[in-house]
């Protein structure tokens, strides 16, 4: 992989839904290992932008490159194979399988052996070991035999992140990993995110400003599909436009 290229570059990326321009000429650059947060009010286009980066949606305009290679037209599975992983705002897991089986699926998803049909999965000790390590790292080892649908919301979020980390990605997209968590769960999720491999670039969507500013060095503010401000967290915190978006604009003096 060419180290001279940034991890992810978005150039003038737009997406239309009929007449609605949900994402409007967004430019964004993420360096390897960067911690970047994407904030903005509801309907700003944050999740749509995620879907464009991960390939669930195709961009109407613009280009997306990943380590210098154009991935704008690639299907989600091809992008995952290149090292883009994501979690979902509404957790998408395998509800009727156990935690261990969920993680095993993620471990084999980017492995050539996923096409093997003549040997039981259980006979691959290394995949089982990999899954066990992942469960250990995410504090899920105790729950490995539980069906995912029986887990608490907080534990499901952990499984979600564990699945996306199984393929050793270079870019991790986290779509509101703290949403709906209790303060305790939120705290342990935050610790977990802090412990993630520092060479992986992380792009985080977050509503909770404290979390976003604590986690990321760089912040991009999205509003009505456009990038409003981008920069170091201190600049963004001081920005008047951002304060207006979040706190409401003052009435202009007549």
């Amino acid at each position: 992989m060419d180290c001279s290229h940034p991890c992810l570059v978005l150039e003038n990326v737009s997406r239309d839904f009929g007449g609605l321009r949900a994402v409007d000429s967004v430019n964004l650059t993420i360096q390897p290992g960067e911690r970047h947060a994407l904030i903005g009010p509801n309907g700003a286009g944050k999740t749509t932008l995620f879907n464009l980066i991960s390939g669930e949606l195709r961009a109407t305009d613009g280009t997306i490159s990943f380590f210098g290679a154009d991935v704008t037209r690639l299907a989600p599975d091809r992008r995952a194979a290149r090292g883009i992983a994501r979690t979902f705002q509404i957790t998408k897991l395998f509800p009727n399988l156990t935690v261990l089986e969920n993680v095993l699926l993620a471990c084999e998803a980017l492995d050539r052996r996923k096409f093997t049909m003549h040997r039981p999965l259980a006979s691959y000790r290394d995949l089982a070991q990999k899954a066990a390590n992942l469960l250990e790292a995410f504090g899920l080892a105790q729950l490995r035999q539980e069906l995912v649908r029986n887990l608490s919301h907080g534990d499901q979020r952990k499984v979600d992140v564990a699945l996306s980390m199984a393929g050793r990605p270079q870019l991790l997209l986290l779509d509101e990993p703290m949403a709906g968590l209790s303060p305790g769960e939120s705290h342990s999720m935050h610790e977990l995110l802090e412990k993630l491999d520092s060479t992986i670039a992380v792009l985080l969507i977050e509503h909770d400003m404290d979390v976003a500013f604590a986690f990321a060095e760089k912040i991009t503010v999205l509003s009505q599909g456009r990038v409003l401000t981008e920069g170091h967290k201190d600049e963004v915190r001081a920005s008047r436009t951002v304060q207006q978006i979040y706190l409401g604009a003052e009435e202009p003096p007549c």
Binding site: K92, L105, A106, F115, M117
Partner: protein
């Protein structure tokens, strides 16, 4: 210790079933031997549909099409062209599989009710062909006079038993393999599988072709067992019957659909001795399954165990 006992139990039950199936024919009338043969043939067919319906989550309503086409291939080659036994067997399986490879291209990108509708339509196309392409298929009359290859019902029964054991073992290995496991993932959440890096179209396609191949094996057996092939073996009713075998027995278990095949074949034979209205009974069974055991009979057992 408990684990050891469980493994012992797991190994001993299939062995017992196989030994019983191998040992009973001399004690049964040829009618019952024939019925057991039918059950095993339809069990292969039902298990092959289970790969699609139960494991991959693709509801196919045209699955009897591959069964029927393989049977027709044997019938046409054996009667009109007097082809040898092995030519017929190989052609039946190959043509059935090739057809599923072609149909798979048309159906693998759709899901749920759309998948159901397209497979239903393709199944009807095959039925139409069998009904109208009279020069080859004999139309309504079907093709009779497929030569008996193994004299005496017991010999054919034993061959069927061997193929049944072989197919069951292969399908069990298939579903426990890494590939089979990805199918479960697609059933549970296809979009997550995609974002994890799996080309779900390809996996659905391969699953469709493999299910078609096993259905073809059942079709070849059926042609030789029945010595007659007609449009009723690949029409919508035939496909729905297989569908019901799977839903009644328990999708996603392989064992359940095999037992479902046994139940349906038995009921069909017993009930048709008393009434012509077999389809009405079939419908009633379907409704009762959906109301009483929506996950199928074999899954009732699992549910009661997990409650305990």
């Amino acid at each position: 210790m408990a684990e050891f006992r469980q493994i012992g139990w797991k190994a001993s039950v299939p062995t017992l079933v196989i030994v019983l199936l191998a040992a009973v024919p001399p004690f049964l009338s040829s009618y019952w031997v024939g019925l057991l043969t039918q059950i095993m043939i339809f069990a292969i067919l039902a298990m092959s549909l289970d790969i699609l319906l139960g494991y991959t989550g693709l509801p196919s309503l045209g699955h009897a099409g591959f069964f029927g086409v393989a049977a027709y291939t044997v019938a046409v080659l054996a009667t009109a062209y007097h082809a040898g036994f092995w030519t017929c067997v190989a052609s039946g399986i190959i043509i059935g599989t090739l057809l599923s490879a072609a149909f798979g291209l048309l159906v693998s990108h759709v899901r749920d009710v759309y998948f159901l509708m397209i497979t239903l339509a393709l199944g009807m196309v095959l039925w139409g062909l069998s009904n109208r392409w009279i020069t080859v298929t004999g139309g309504d009359n079907g093709i009779s006079g497929i030569p008996r290859v193994m004299t005496g019902p017991i010999t054919f029964y034993e061959v069927t038993l061997l193929i049944f054991i072989g197919c069951t073992a292969l399908m069990m290995l298939f579903i426990s393999s890494p590939f089979g496991f990805t199918l479960k993932g697609i059933r549970e959440s296809e979009s997550r599988m995609k974002s994890l890096g799996v080309n779900t179209w390809l996996h659905c396609y391969l699953s469709y072709v493999i299910a078609g191949a096993f259905a073809s094996v059942a079709g070849v057996l059926w042609a030789y067992y029945n010595a007659f092939v007609g449009p009723t073996y690949l029409d919508l009713t035939a496909s729905s019957e297989v569908f019901l075998m799977v839903t009644l027995g328990g999708p996603g278990t392989l064992v359940g659909p095999a037992l479902g095949a046994g139940a349906i074949v038995l009921l069909k034979n017993v009930i048709s001795a008393y009434t012509q209205r077999w389809l009405m009974i079939l419908g009633a069974i379907y409704i009762m399954t959906i109301l009483g055991a929506p996950q199928g009979l074999w899954n009732l057992r699992r549910r009661s165990r997990s409650r305990a």
